[in-house]
Symmetry: C2
Subunit: 218 residues, 2 copies
DNA sequence: CCTCGAAATTGAACGTGTTCAAGAAAACTA
DNA sequence: TAGTTTTCTTGAACACGTTCAATTTCGAGG
């Protein structure tokens, strides 16, 4: 009964995500989702083990949107600065409809036991997909990033992206323009900082940084 | 009825914090707290507007503990490296009893509307108290930190402390030794990085970084 | 000592996320 | 087709955080 089943699943997910956007996380109760979708509460739980699982669904959808937008924007961006800027801005674009819901989203995602947690062992697939966007941004850049940190760069930039997301959640300025300015200001700083990797005397401290960063992750 | 009233408040808070430590956040229900303290549920709510408010109480207590331990440890630490290391380690010491509860704590604290949120406008007092610990660590350091960023340093280090805390929450290693090693590795890197502020050619990028950091906060 | 307003305390009630035994519908087997 | 197993669906029930009208306790003024 795969097809009808998938229909119900999509129906519930669709209703839930729309309600998340329109009335926020707290007001979107499981009972309201079920009622709006025309199914029973228990049936919604048959497809989504918890309300957090619906957030996971949202996370995947936003991520897919980010990947699509980034791929498009990266077509005409050659140097790392513009590639990175494009990647971050498209990420913000993908999240934009859910800003009012950002606080609850982050609170859900950050809990170590959450299925959405981007750092947790469970959601490796989702994190890898997100990381891939940054890998693409770095790998195809011309001129290329310094050899020494090319392999670590995607993860570090992804971490920066997480920090930007956190900032965005707290950003109450119109259209989150403050976050946009943060990105525009920080990206050139990052790429300029990267070129410092090549100046002599810098090698040792960079090596130490990379080795610490690796030992922490590994 | 100030005295009896304060007694009840302390009783509820004490029971709650002990239960948080012993059985975690989720299992510590308001009903269980009330029962254990020998009061009614409604009475607990008379003193604490929400369960989150009890987390706020915990936050204040941990912070006071941190301040006390840091003050002691900073007595025999002169250079910035050891002062910073002491400040961070005493912070971890103060949190230690609540590690199993860290995930829920962070999830509560990170919600923009939470009274505990360290970034939110509401909890300025709590954040300032925490910031002061880092101000002390920086200001009394010998030799002093580079003039140019001395005033920004406490806030930046506090931000780093927040990041370390986040890492600590996810750290499941024995006694969170991984976080300890992160601190021990990162602190010398930070102080070495600071001394780079004085090498020529570095000035411009540092200025840009500081001006971005200020414009973002202001 | 008595009275009265304020402070403190109670517990039932509400809406929430989640569970689960029961049943209906579909798919499969012969 | 008839019987059987698997998948899907239901809604009542549970424990939770939180609210609030009612009640008790307290302290001050007469």
């Amino acid at each position: 009964m795969t097809v009808k089943s998938e229909q119900t699943r999509q129906l519930v997910a669709g209703v839930a995500l729309r309600m998340f956007r329109e009335i926020g996380f707290a007001k979107t109760t499981m009972r309201a989702i079920a009622a709006e979708a025309g199914v029973s509460v228990g049936n919604a739980y048959y497809y989504f083990a918890s309300k957090d699982d619906l957030v996971q669904e949202l996370y995947l959808q936003v991520q897919a949107e980010h990947a699509a937008r980034a791929a498009e924007a990266l077509k005409d961006a050659a140097d790392l600065t513009s590639r990175l800027r494009a990647t971050l801005h498209t990420g913000l674009d993908a999240m934009a409809p859910y800003h009012r819901f950002g606080g609850d989203f982050i609170a859900t995602a950050i809990r170590p036991t959450s299925p959405v947690n981007p750092f947790a062992a469970g959601s490796t697939a989702a994190r890898e997909a997100s990381l891939d966007i940054f890998r693409t941004a770095v790998e195809a850049a011309k001129p290329p990033a310094p050899k020494k940190l090319r392999s670590d760069l995607p993860e570090l930039l992804w971490l920066f992206y997480m920090a930007v997301t956190l900032f965005w959640v707290y950003d109450t300025s119109d259209g989150q323009q403050r976050t946009r300015r943060l990105v525009d200001g920080a990206v050139p700083l990052i790429t300029r900082g990267l070129s410092l990797a090549r100046v002599p005397g810098m090698g040792r401290i960079l090596d130490d940084f990379l080795s610490l960063s690796r030992s922490i992750r590994g």
